[in-house]
Symmetry: C2
Subunit: 241 residues, 2 copies
């Protein structure tokens, strides 16, 4: 099952075995892509959606000077651009961070799911709304937090999300980004990102080096981030489903 991690830790328990099989069957092929590879450009007509099996993918928009703003980051189990199915084209670019494996879901197959499987459709809809909830939290992060809080929030969210899909033990995980990517996600310069990381290290909250995050004081980090993971819509039971 390539879609094993879909909605893992959220409400995947609501999917019947039939629905899970239908979803898996809607995937036409699997692809491997290298790091730093652009999958989709804003405005292109899209005819399939991309499910992330392994690796990390980001979405971003450029400003007038070509500076990037990340608007989302995806971890295994995420549908990266399912919104391309109802929307037909995207308002942002999509690119890999490290090397990835993705599943391709042609929109004509999703169309059949839409017609024949209303409940599964609602779960797919739900998954796109999770992205919207994370967008809102990013708005909060950028609008209300200082640089320390933003970076702490970024890593707190990533930790919680990776925990849901079994890729973080809650204290350490790998993510193939550099300080400049972090800066682009947090709306700060890469120079300042570096200083913030030092501050967080000196405060004994976390370290980040060579793509490896080690959280020393999760409660403290999440306090700095004003992080509350409710917006991730985790199922009551815990991380597994």
């Amino acid at each position: 099952m390539r879609t094993e991690r879909f909605l893992m830790g959220r409400r995947r328990e609501e999917l019947s075995p039939d629905e899970r099989a239908v979803l898996e069957g809607a995937m036409s092929e699997e692809r491997s892509l290298p790091a730093r590879h652009v999958l989709i450009r804003a405005g292109e007509r899209v005819r399939h959606s991309t499910f992330l099996i392994h690796g990390f993918i980001c979405r971003y928009m450029d400003d007038r000077d070509g500076h990037r703003q990340l608007v989302g980051i995806h971890v295994p189990g995420d549908f990266v651009d399912l919104h391309g199915y109802p929307m037909r084209h995207l308002d942002h670019d999509v690119a890999t961070l490290g090397p990835v494996t993705v599943g391709i879901f042609p929109h004509d197959r999703l169309e059949r799911v839409n017609v024949d499987w209303p409940h599964l459709t609602r779960m797919l809809w739900f998954s796109t709304l999770l992205d919207a909830a994370m967008h809102r939290e990013w708005i909060f992060r950028l609008g209300r937090l200082g640089a320390d809080g933003r970076v702490a929030h970024f890593f707190s969210e990533l930790n919680a999300r990776l925990e849901l899909v079994g890729l973080s033990d809650g204290m350490r995980f790998d993510v193939p980004i550099v300080q400049a990517d972090l800066a682009e996600a947090c709306g700060i310069t890469h120079v300042h990102a570096n200083r913030v990381l030092r501050t967080l290290r000196e405060r004994g909250l976390m370290t980040f080096a060579a793509g490896r995050v080690a959280i020393e004081d999760r409660a403290g980090l999440e306090r700095t981030a004003e992080f509350d993971g409710d917006y991730l819509y985790r199922s009551r039971s815990g991380e597994a489903d």
Copy 2:
């Protein structure tokens, strides 16, 4: 038709007369609410969704000190919390700005739409994804623009959206907010919002006073905002459908 403005200027032409009637029929009642009234608190179980017929509504989240961050603003024709249907509860509060009229859509009726009207369901899904696209643009606004650009962007977006539903002529419109609200949307202090408005006025771009926006130089304002309305997914034909 209370839902007359739903998807107006976007892809409403795709809705058949039957579908429009079904949507209208899914509304159980109409309500009028006063200004500055909280409709929904984060975390509450929601059993209906709210369609905005007249007036303005905002969504927001509070930080630790109780300071607000607006994460969205809604204009007539918007489904304010349709995402509450697949999600069951919201991750943010919802409140009116000025006095409003809303339509109530019980989730059990939406459930019937979901099962029996797949294409209409996809259009409803699409409308929630428009919110997500606006969220992304707000992330860009906060992450990459300075205070002048953020305020210019806020008003440029509002102008474009109100134009789509016939509530702006492209140069002037009314919106029942004060400078403090603007500040909460743009992630700046209300003191600075005041200074930014003066700057925009002195540069001959726009004025805002007593809930009335007058755009003097739309191209200049949108340049300051780095605004490009493609993310609003306007239909090719223009504002009407």
